[in-house]
């Protein structure tokens, strides 16, 4: 085993390897996957001099602890959290040098949900269909991190970053998701469509990488019966029989049988990835571009 590796001391609640995902295979039932907060993952890579497609770690709420076997540069972005190296406070959102054998801890998120940990050279677990992303729906890619796991690292590129720190959007205290109605808004009563775009919802604790689930007014259907299975896009707002909208995120199924009342604009989804349970959500109807 090369010394270009990370030893996982504490895996945290759910830490996965993510890159930009594996688009192009939806017709085989393969979700897109990839970092839920793509801009945060890309920034972490930039801060350590990685290419944007390098694989990073995505933590969930309570971070992780890692011990690199060789000296590396690390950057933590996304949900703000305390970062320490051998117990000493280090910068969040900036490049941090971690000596070989030193303990890096990524603490519990102070706000937001998911932090991103980029390591110089990137994580080079075996790619599946061109991506190193963990896909929790179908089990493709590496399994979620476990304590004691070892992750191989690539060779740092010659790319040099001059960025010491970079501004990042704060996790949302209210989530406003711009949505274009359709393709199946006609399956709902006019009152339900109005409620969808005017009433307040809240992020449900049942949310995960597959979907942002919401609590709020149940949306009633005009058409009953089953919708034949059809293709689903990232950001699709699917309404299951309980009437509670689910916004499909990166690990969403590629086809589904419940009507999609609207589609959230992709630039609004990174904020959805950082919305803690209970965050108010409004769906703002916008016209198609």
């Amino acid at each position: 085993m090369t010394d270009r590796a990370l030893f996982v001391v504490r895996a945290g609640a759910l830490t996965t390897v993510q890159d930009r995902g594996r688009p192009g295979h939806a017709h085989l039932g393969v979700p897109r996957s990839g970092a839920l907060d793509g801009p945060a993952a890309a920034l972490a890579n930039r801060l350590v001099g990685n290419r944007p497609e390098a694989a990073v770690l995505e933590t969930t709420l309570n971070g992780c602890a890692l011990r690199p076997r060789s000296t590396v540069t690390v950057a933590v972005t996304g949900a703000p959290c305390p970062v320490t190296v051998e117990g000493r406070p280090a910068s969040w959102g900036a490049p941090v040098r971690v000596p070989a054998g030193a303990l890096l801890t990524v603490g519990t998120a102070l706000s937001g949900v998911r932090s991103y940990v980029a390591v110089s050279g990137g994580i080079i677990v075996e790619p599946v269909l061109g991506s190193r992303s963990t896909d929790l729906l179908s089990g493709l890619g590496p399994p979620p991190l476990t304590d004691g796991a070892i992750l191989p690292l690539g060779t740092p590129t010659a790319l040099h970053t001059r960025v010491d720190t970079a501004p990042q959007p704060a996790p949302p205290t209210e989530l406003v998701l711009r949505v274009t109605l359709g393709p199946r808004d006609d399956w709902f009563t006019p009152e339900a469509v109005r409620a969808f775009t005017t009433r307040a919802f809240r992020v449900s604790s049942a949310s995960n990488r597959i979907g942002l689930r919401t609590d709020g007014p149940a949306l009633a259907r005009r058409l009953e019966g089953e919708l034949p299975s059809e293709g689903m896009v990232l950001g699709a707002v699917q309404v299951p029989p309980d009437g509670r909208p689910v916004v499909f995120l990166a690990d969403h199924p590629t086809t589904g049988g419940y009507p999609v009342i609207g589609v959230v604009r992709e630039p609004d989804l990174p904020a959805a990835a950082q919305a803690v349970p209970g965050t108010p959500v409004r769906f703002l109807a916008v016209r198609r571009r």
Partner: protein, 203 residues
């Protein structure tokens, strides 16, 4: 043919039958291969084809609405054969639905040529059509929490094979040792939309 916009850069094309959806999917894949269609995903389903990652969905919508559904292209010559043991726990229930003795289920199923209409649910899971409508069966009232990998199953008008162990509500009629999905293999999926399939009863 009806086109429905999906978000800003996708289009759902709705047709009136599964056969039309398969033919349209084949035509769109052909257009992409010849370079006249730029699209990230082409996802066929029961009555629709989804096109995602389009630069000008409105223009394509207008073009498709004006076009006739092209006739189904000649089918691939190759038939994937899946050896199956008709030993599933729901075989008797399916036989009762069909109104035939259990042995007949195997004979009818293995005597049918299937086509993968679309995939979904899990990587490598294909929705196979070919059985006449009189053999449609409902899903089980209570889904199983774990259906073993390789289970050959029926639901509605479809036959499917579970690529890996997962929860599922389909009626299980048999088992195959075929590997439906292997990401180290090229292609990873044994079945993709348009693939012809026959089930061969293992002795």
């Amino acid at each position: 043919m009806r086109t429905l916009p999906v978000g800003d850069d996708a289009l759902l094309v709705e047709v009136s039958s599964g056969e039309e959806a398969q033919a349209l999917h084949a035509e769109l894949v052909r257009r992409r291969a010849e370079g006249s269609l730029s699209v990230r995903e082409i996802v066929p389903a029961a009555r629709t084809v989804l096109l995602d990652g389009l630069t000008d969905p409105a223009r394509l919508a207008a073009e498709l609405t004006a076009a006739e559904v092209p006739p189904a292209p000649p089918r691939a010559r190759e038939v994937v054969e899946l050896r199956v043991r008709y030993d599933g726990p729901d075989l008797a229930d399916v036989a009762a639905h069909w109104g035939v003795p259990p042995r007949e289920v195997a004979r009818i199923h293995a005597g049918t040529e299937f086509t993968v209409a679309f995939c979904g649910f899990a990587p490598g899971f294909g929705y196979l059509t070919g059985l006449p409508a009189r053999y449609d069966v409902p899903r089980r009232a209570t889904p199983r929490t774990a259906v073993p990998a390789g289970s050959v199953a029926l639901a509605g008008p479809y036959t499917g094979v579970y690529p890996r162990s997962s929860p599922g509500g389909w009626q299980l009629i048999g088992t195959t040792d075929a590997v439906l999905w292997d990401h180290a293999r090229v292609p990873a999926a044994l079945l993709s939309p348009g693939t012809r399939v026959r089930f061969v009863e293992a002795p």
